[in-house]
Symmetry: C2
Subunit: 902 residues, 2 copies
């Protein structure tokens, strides 16, 4: 058996070998291949990680030999020797898995040092302080990371930092850098003593012992708790393992001719094609990140912008803060050449780390740079224009979920107020306003020009007017798909829901968070993307959808296969959705039309009717209003299909809930309070979600279906006659049994025929159903015989498949996700394993008996990228989501289709 290769020198690898060498090592190797100056080093492969675990955390002998041989090869290149006080070669040791993974061991610098070697280092560098600083840093990192001194005590005090602080106090200095070489020698001695005292370990002096200790620590960190949790949450197999990168040290802290920095090849926040980086002279890498000293700009341009941003005058700045470009123009040229080479090679914006040691540039890392949504779009579009990438690649460069940042107002995060509580990020965006506790106040104050935040224990359909008038909505109860959340998302309005720390008293007109009491009129701010609730007014900036955004979206449309429709209930929503690129309406909820102004009165009359005649009379009042709504929607959706769902919620939702409103209704309807109370109580249900709603209403009260069908068909024919291209799709909700659909279909078909005859025009009208009851999916073959289309209502379907009430699940769902019983909230991300089975089954069975069946989805999942991918894979015809998620859906749909081709 030939010996397995366990160790790769950087010049033996390439970026394609990520699985074996880890991401960091593969990229270091790639740079070496490009002749970019990288401190020599080697990689212990990810396979060794598994061997290590299989062999009781011990290293195979062959590994030791291969490492030795790699090191001697590096010694030759560097003309230095590991462990040799004369010419000491030091190493950094880093973990490096296939993909970047939090929770694992990060970095040990300066490995291969001891008191003897310090002395050699002093001799070579002529810098006593540098040498002792290098040693004490090593002891500190090794003590923390390899020996785990932090884990040995319950308190949060870092004994090393404690000792450092003590010494500075003793010496009467402020900064680490004010400590002298001898000070640092003392510190090193004390650090070693701390380790001996606390862990009863003799600090390893032998560089080889240090090396193997560090390698073992990297492997062990692959199985620490945080790493395991992260892997479970992200479905990363344990078998992947981590590699270990061992690299020669170069020093940015050996004097003024040294520096270290990080840079992005383009601006990561705007995407502009300018080099953007920060550096520190005479510093080691960790100092840039740690923020002890403020880093300076790499370029002149960056320097100027920095000055403007920080408000100092130009003259002052030029004196105080020179850019690297100015200080070391030759090195900068070399850096510029290198970054351009890297970007051209990787075809993407790079995030690089570099160190300058005595006037020599070294690259320590390159990787794809993280960026904001705006930057991602601009970089992608620019790179297509620059001929660097294809349109498809550009599309894949932007994460759909990122777009959300661009579609809502956002806070200026540098001026953020105190976070006083946290709820669920129910509807993204930022809002700031004065607290009100009821919808009426919201409407009144906002009509006076005030900005308000509506705070409710929970919202109900009666609050819709107030929600519209508010900047944002905050509720104490309800989950991601509670009434408040769903309606707010539909409106594109910021909402934080289910904030259980909130103790609202309507009576006292205030809310308590812990000991803090906030009253009506006080300012708060909501971050709907994070769920944060902040004290006071926080400035917001409006969404910006630039030209690049439009360009990218048009490319997405070219490559997607899924249609993208919207959930919209009003002409206004429909208009917004069209602007966002919706190709029709997938769900128009007619019940939302019944809450405004005098409609709610007519609706209440209908519900409180004792006889069919009375009910028909009340419905006749509603008919012209509904008809006008539909006409408005058809106008906005000229040329696109409009799916209209018939009345869905239980009737009691329309009844007044508070005493005042009840008295008003009783008076206006001319019935006694007693009668009203009786009717309300007879409509009360134990589990309204499973009660008398959806098509069950249309079956027991066919006159409701008749009215709605009449309104739709008359509006459609009238719009058609005005030259608008209409294609209405009438959708029956909550069907579980084919005969329910047949019953409603017959009623509607009769109405259609009657209206066509009366109006003398015939148009194409489809009749279909929601699939939102598990039984509907199970018997979809039967149901499809009576349906022109299916639309999966995955909110209800999730609710019933899991048996989780959307309104109540906040008592246990968050804990389920925390405990990893569920990897995601299934109301947010479609549960492919369970609910998804029903979606697949329903689609397959439905098409088996009705091959022309059109199939879509209109739950909240229709706007969530991984769920959209599922819909694409399942072969649905379209997804439908709230207007503000339409671009996300379009991009996700394109991603899904392009990934199929890869």
């Amino acid at each position: 058996m030939s010996e397995k290769k366990m160790v790769y020198l950087f010049d033996e690898g390439s970026k394609e070998m990520k699985n074996l060498l880890g991401g960091k090592g593969a990229n270091l190797s790639e740079m070496v291949g490009l002749n970019i100056p990288v401190p020599p080093g080697f990689i212990i492969t990810t396979e060794v990680c598994n061997d290590y675990y299989e062999n009781d955390s011990s290293f195979p002998e062959t590994l030791r030999e291969q490492v030795k041989s790699a090191i001697s090869s590096i010694e030759k290149k560097m003309s230095m020797r590991f462990g040799d006080p004369e010419d000491p070669l030091l190493f950094s040791v880093r973990s490096g898995a296939r993909i970047s993974m939090p929770g694992m061991m990060d970095t040990i610098l300066n490995l291969g040092i001891n008191r003897d070697i310090v002395k050699g280092l002093i001799k070579r560098s002529g810098d006593e302080r540098f040498a002792w600083d290098t040693y004490r840093r090593f002891i500190q990192m090794y003590g923390d990371v390899v020996l785990g001194i932090g884990d040995s005590f319950d308190d949060d005090v870092d004994p090393f930092e404690d000792e450092l602080a003590r010494l500075k106090l003793e010496k009467g200095v402020n900064y680490d850098s004010d400590l002298s070489g001898p000070d640092l020698e003392v510190l090193s001695t004390n650090f070693i003593k701390i380790i001996k005292d606390r862990l009863n370990i003799d600090f390893p002096d032998d560089p080889w012992d240090q090396l193997w200790g560090a390698v073992g620590a990297v492997f062990s960190s692959w199985r620490n708790k945080r790493a395991i949790t992260y892997r479970n949450m992200n479905s990363i197999p344990s078998i992947w393992g981590t590699a270990v990168n061992v690299q020669s040290m170069v020093f940015g802290n050996m004097g003024e001719g040294c520096a270290t920095g990080v840079a992005f090849t383009r601006d990561p926040s705007t995407g502009r094609n300018v080099f953007y980086g920060e550096y520190l002279q005479n510093a080691q890498g960790e100092d840039v990140v740690a923020g002890i000293r403020t880093p300076l700009q790499v370029t002149k341009r960056g320097s100027m912008e920095w000055a403007v941003h920080n408000g100092t005058s130009e003259a002052e700045r030029l004196n105080k803060h020179l850019s690297l470009e100015e200080i070391m123009p030759g090195i900068f040229k070399e850096l510029e050449k290198t970054y351009l080479q890297l970007e051209a090679h990787y075809h993407d914006m790079q995030d690089i780390e570099f160190t300058i040691q005595n006037g020599v540039l070294w690259l320590l890392q390159t990787r794809t740079g993280k960026r904001t949504a705006a930057a991602a779009i601009k970089i992608a579009v620019d790179m297509v224009n620059e001929g660097l990438i294809t349109k498809k690649e550009a599309i894949l460069r932007v994460e759909p979920e990122q777009l959300d940042q661009l579609l809502h107002p956002a806070f200026d995060m540098e001026k953020k107020g105190e976070v006083i509580a946290r709820g669920l990020p129910a509807s993204p965006g930022a809002a700031t306003g004065q607290i009100v506790f009821n919808a009426d106040d919201a409407e009144t104050l906002s009509s006076d020009g005030d900005r308000v935040i509506l705070v409710r224990i929970e919202t109900s359909p009666e609050d819709i007017g107030g929600m519209k008038s508010s900047e944002g909505i905050l509720t104490a109860r309800g989950g991601m798909t509670s009434h408040a959340a769903v309606v707010a998302r539909g409106m594109g309005k910021c909402c934080v829901s289910g904030c259980s720390d909130l103790n609202i008293s309507y009576k006292d007109g205030n809310m308590k968070i812990g000991d803090r009491v906030l009253s009506k009129g006080e300012w708060i701010s909501l971050n709907g993307s994070t769920g944060e609730i902040m004290l006071g007014m926080t400035p917001t900036k409006p969404p910006s959808i630039g030209g690049d955004f439009k360009t990218l979206m048009s490319w997405a449309d070219q490559f997607k296969k899924l249609g993208v429709r919207t959930n919209a209930d009003t002409p206004e929503d429909a208009k917004v959705a069209r602007e966002f690129g919706a190709e029709g309406i997938g769900l128009c909820r007619t019940e939302h039309m019944f809450f405004e102004g005098e409609r709610i009165l007519a609706m209440r009359k209908m519900i409180l009717s004792e006889t069919e005649e009375e009910r028909v009379a009340a419905l006749d009042q509603l008919l012209p209003m509904q008809k006008e709504d539909f006409k408005g929607i058809f106008r906005e959706m000229d040329g696109f299909p409009v799916t209209i769902r018939l009345l869905d919620p239980p009737l009691h939702e329309f009844l007044p809930h508070d005493q005042e409103a009840k008295i008003e209704v009783a008076r206006e309807l001319g019935i006694t309070m007693e009668h009203l109370e009786m009717k309300i109580s007879s409509l009360k249900e134990f589990n309204p979600m499973l009660g008398h709603r959806g098509c069950r209403l249309g079956i027991t009260y066919p006159e409701i279906t008749k009215m709605q069908a009449t309104a739709i068909v008359e509006a459609a024919v009238a719009s058609n006659n005005e030259g608008i291209v209409v294609s209405p799709e009438i959708m029956i909700p909550l069907v579980g049994v084919r005969k329910e659909l047949e019953n409603q279909r017959n009623i509607i078909s009769e109405i259609i025929e009657r209206v066509f005859t009366e109006m003398g025009t015939r148009i194409d009208i489809k009749i279909g159903t929601m699939i939102e009851i598990p039984r509907a999916a199970l018997t979809a073959d039967e149901i499809a015989r009576s349906a022109d289309f299916f639309s999966f209502g995955t909110n209800d379907l999730t609710q019933m498949t899991f048996g989780y009430s959307r309104d109540d699940s906040s008592t246990f769902l968050p804990e389920y996700v925390d405990k990893n019983i569920l990897s995601e909230d299934p109301f947010k991300v479609l549960d492919g394993e369970g609910v998804g089975q029903l979606v697949k089954m329903g689609t397959k069975k439905g098409r088996s008996t009705n091959p022309l069946l059109k199939v879509g989805i209109c739950g909240e999942h229709g706007g969530e990228p991984s769920s959209i991918k599922f819909c694409h894979d399942t072969g649905l015809d379209y997804v439908s989501c709230s207007p503000y998620r339409v671009p996300i859906a379009r991009l996700s749909a394109a991603h899904s289709n392009i990934s199929d081709e890869i």
Copy 2:
């Protein structure tokens, strides 16, 4: 192409030809084959019915020819001629489908008659009155059934009966039989005039026209509305069609030597092996059924019993009412011989019709006789003892659902009170008592020896004590599986639920039904088998489970494959169930143990705890009580498995609901009312059925699971040490995700290990789960990896698969069944098409990864025969049902298995 045979003479058929000849025709043919005297006739096959519809309701020419030839063959046998005034042969025409089917055309007698033929008939019979009566009867029947005169008017007045009444008034007579020949001639003329006036039809004089009209009417009746509805409800294919039976008339009304009667070969109400029949002298068959004259007994013995029952003295009776046996002893002997022959031939009790024409006996029909449950059992057991049938046949002779009659008290239906309202037949049996409106009153009054009916808007677990103390329970809300219904069935107590006509005012201490007001203390009676509510006290008789019952059940156990367990929560229930033959407990609901006495206080303390420590302290109080419960149950179930389900309902169910109770709880727990109210309101859920319950509780409060597991395991080990054979099965409710089960399983396994170690004994304890969430069935392969057993909780599974709340569905489910959107209430009969798919899928997937998995069902369906058949077919290991349905389940299980072999 050879001509299709469309017509069969009776001597060409047999009982095996039911599909072609219909049930009635096949049996008539069979009797002919047995040389039993049957008036000759022929059958037009069921196939012709389909031809008739395919040919636009016209008769094929070949049919006319075959009918002609059949009639001439009959004419020869009878020496009479159809349509010949000299020697007129008359026919009866009857429909006859494969199985007896209501809604279809019944009978036309005396066909082939007109004024000329009447005269011939007078000449031959010498009885003018008889001849004209025959004619007028024919016109009346033909006018009603073939010409449909009843359908031509909206009102309910039968114009013929109207005319008859008018004539009697005119003639000053009381009875039809008092009208003379000439009177009846006038009546005939007037009948024909009525038909002409109302329908503008000349009444057909030609016997052949009459015949074809009647045949067409039979075929048409196959597609009338009632017949179609019946077929849809019973899944009878339309293609089966109906046959037409044409049979020579014989007359029981040609004088005192004539008679007609119906009889059962054994007593249909007791099953005793005695001939039981009624007859009328000088009458046509319809007179016996119509009840105008009171029929007399066929046998002496029957006559005597009749006299005793009617309270007349022996002497009087002997004078007034002679039996057929006494009047026509020769004919009786012949009848006796015939019935014995028929019973021996059919191996079953027969229901026969006969006519005696001038001293000659004719049999007109034989069919399997309907019987009561008690009779069915006695006949079946007797016939096995007589060697007539096998044990398997005996088992199949008793419908499982019938047993229910025997297992509960029943009303003496002849002394029934006025029915004032109707609810759902939620739990069978009969109850009579005084109205009380709350559980406390029920307990107080019943302890004083009063019999009470507990009337509630709905019941809650707090009412359990009151329910136990009542004779029966009546609720205004809630369906067949509401709390009241489920608990009552478990107790074997009569319950009528969801009576929406009931308007209960707790405040006023009364209830309204329409205008009627009933107050506390008034007597009412409930029929839990029909849902009827009756005014006043109605005598009841206790259930009787005789020796034959036991015998039959023991045979059933020999032949069944499915295990039958019971749902029992207390040692008392367990005892009853064992007496009824339960082979273990399939569902022991632990929450019912928490409602009694001081337990509810400890439970409330637990729920109201703010910290885990407080909660554990309260649970520690409950532990010894639960342990004692389990020990009691293990004792009763010595040798049988006991499946114990951990806490299932949402916690707020345990909280007090009314003000008084709240004050008490707050005081006893030493907390403020404000605190209590806050906690109650924070536990309130919008849809508790889909909320924080089942294993979700055990996951968020693991200490509850720990307490319950400790109680079970300690009780089991202690019982084992006392020599009782225990096999506990711990069941986790409401699992939808495998990790939920794993989480709970781990907690329980730790407890098991701890208790085993502490007590030094190890026993076999299984851990499994309910499958009641659709997702659990969909992912059963995964879940089964962590389960020793599955138990389908088909109540919840139905609830979530259909999206029907058990507590709220009464607002639409009854209408769904009425409108045939659903053929059955799916909470009563398992929905094989939808919910059943999940049961099959769950079983198959579960066993695919865990072949040793034990699978049962413990929903309400576990006691319903067709659902049990489904469970058998699906290959489940056992069903579990309430104690009072165990015999039904045992018999159903035997039926299912025996039918497999056929």
